[in-house]
Symmetry: C2
Subunit: 244 residues, 2 copies
Amino acid sequence: MNTRFHAKRAGTPACVSCSECTLRALCLPGHLPLAEALALERAVERGRPLSAGSALVHCGAPMDALLVVRSGSAKSHSVTLEGVEQVHGFVLPGEAVGLEGFAAGVYSCDVTALEPLEYCRMPMRGLEALIEQLPGLRREILRLLGGALDESQRLRGQLSLCDARGRVARFLADMSRRLARRGLSPTEFRLSMSRRDIARHLGLTLETVSRSFGVLKREGWLRVRARNVTLLRPEALAVIGGRA
Amino acid sequence: MNTRFHAKRAGTPACVSCSECTLRALCLPGHLPLAEALALERAVERGRPLSAGSALVHCGAPMDALLVVRSGSAKSHSVTLEGVEQVHGFVLPGEAVGLEGFAAGVYSCDVTALEPLEYCRMPMRGLEALIEQLPGLRREILRLLGGALDESQRLRGQLSLCDARGRVARFLADMSRRLARRGLSPTEFRLSMSRRDIARHLGLTLETVSRSFGVLKREGWLRVRARNVTLLRPEALAVIGGRA
DNA sequence: CGTTCATTTGAGCCGACTCAAAATGGGTGG
DNA sequence: CCACCCATTTTGAGTCGGCTCAAATGAACG
């Protein structure tokens, strides 16, 4: 799998403190007062780098740490009783992984690297103690969870209200926005996930996703060549799409 | 609007402590050690009863309290930029309201009573202090949020994987399960929401929902007369449905 | 350079949507 | 208690978008 796109980010040296991390503003410490950020930093471990296709967390495994992706990207997914994969979402650098685990202390989905990936771990034991001591961290964790919930609900609404073309358009607009927050180009990027992953995230078939890319291209919204995308009018992209 | 169904529950006298509340086991205190439950109880206020159609919380209003429905039911919904309503979910007695508000300290959806409704309030100020002091409550709040997130993601998957008949079937199975937890009949109940609300929750049109009820009835899964439903094989209902 | 997997493109079908009309039922006032 | 009225729900007919199955093209990697 091609990693050139995220390589700029991944090139961080092995040992980096949170305060020096390029992701600081996006990660937990970015919203904390300095004293709290330093305390949190002492509880953070560095996970060993993973290759594409390996798992950050397994469904059913005890949630022993809160993970944040440092470089690379991942998909959060699960398998229904009938054996069909559903993709809950994609994780970009600075984003937390497996928050649903708070429900039962056990991860309820798999998270799999889509390309070579690095991450940080905050072991739950230490984290719980810190949550008790640091009001800012407490608020931040709740903010994180509330945000994930809100986003999930909102996305669900969009899925029912949009036709295929609109879903793909919004998906791309969302990626663009999130990449921009990380200082990467919002208009030109490489998707790390397959059409099949996108399809299973958007509730479509991969053929329909592919066709939608084609339609958007023909309509002049973007250029596509395989996984490389160039958005031509990213602002407008977020508001197109069938029924809503 | 007919309230007979929930009236059994609603008949609680005006002043009830958490420890005496029939919902105790379903509500926050049910999962807390006794000492913590008592501390929490002192922070709980009783909201004044609402009539059908009035709002528990308004989208955009500051989240000044955590609300739990005590009797009756509500729908959590929002309106897209295009003016289309999307129904995020339905709230039953013992369930918390507006958890997405933790994201920004502001409610991001409306919650509207579907029938006469009573609720409890835990003002945020006091709650935050308690969260600091009570480890059990801390864990419980995280559990609540994680559970809501997990459920939302799982539901989204089901919506894309199921055909209309399956979505309605799972919706009914879910209601049945939740009613059973409250000690009510899992097989015979009255839906407090309209077909339109159900449709907007499941990403369908109200005509399709109505037709799906018809199909399920004809297939012998249930009896329906208007909003009154009798499930004939509730266990099996959860696993039927088109693509998954 | 060849193999393998991902993606694109095509043809035909089915289910959910739209528009429209009839029927049911809950609530109100005589 | 009954009759009426309104909103909700049901039912019908026709269309269209996304799915399925199938084949061709393109990209990545050894």
